[in-house]
């Protein structure tokens, strides 16, 4: 049972990492719009 709990804690951090990925995606889209016109 403690093992499952620890897996849950690790997965929580993995989820935060994935949300961070989404944040980077937002930054990427924003930079695509903010790039100067060529």
């Amino acid at each position: 049972m403690e093992r499952i709990y620890e897996v849950g804690l690790i997965m929580q951090n993995v989820a935060y990492g994935l949300f961070g990925l989404a944040g980077l995606g937002i930054l990427s889209i924003a930079s695509a719009f903010l790039l100067p016109k060529s």
Binding site: M1, E2, I4, Y5, V7, G8, L9, I10, M11, Q12, V14, A15, Y16, L18, F19, G20, L21, A22, G23, L24, G25, I26, L27, S28, I29, A30, S31, A32, L35, K37, S38
Partner: protein, 149 residues
């Protein structure tokens, strides 16, 4: 060279060649000299051989860098949100207070809450002091470890 457009004067009906920027503005007729309102761009006929009227659209031409950034960003955003949501829910279920995974912790807590002070004291000595040292643990060492001396 800017795109040129034809328009006919409302007074003498002769043809004028005007640049696109004078569309919708007053302009002096080249033939009769009277002021006349040039129609909006959509109502003007472009002069053949001049720049096509769709040239402003080329400013919005697709940039490879931008579309690449957009596609990568969009996929990162989508994967991040969807996978993050799923994994977060999975994790929340595992670490939730009162779930199956924490049942043993809850049992431990209930056990401790139901203990008498003497039982707690025993638990402290058995669980939290270095077990291998217990046999030769002297009163002085004990007092020292508890800063009682």
């Amino acid at each position: 060279m800017a795109a040129q457009f034809r328009f006919h004067c409302n007074h003498c009906n002769k043809e004028n060649i005007v640049p696109g920027r004078s569309a919708g503005q007053e302009r002096e007729c080249e033939h009769c000299g009277k002021m006349d309102l040039v129609p909006k761009l959509r109502d003007l006929k472009p002069v053949e051989g001049s720049e096509p009227s769709s040239s402003p659209r080329q400013q919005h031409a697709k940039s490879k860098t931008k579309s690449l950034l957009f596609v990568i960003g969009f996929s990162m955003l989508t994967i991040g949100l969807v996978a993050g949501w799923l994994v977060y829910n999975y994790a929340a279920e595992k670490v939730a207070y009162g779930s199956a995974a924490t049942a043993s912790f809850d049992q431990d807590e209930n056990t401790i809450r139901q203990m008498t002070p003497a039982q707690l004291w025993n638990l402290w000595n058995v669980e939290f002091l270095p077990n291998e040292k217990l046999p030769e643990w002297t009163q002085a060492e004990w007092n020292g470890s508890m800063k009682l001396a």
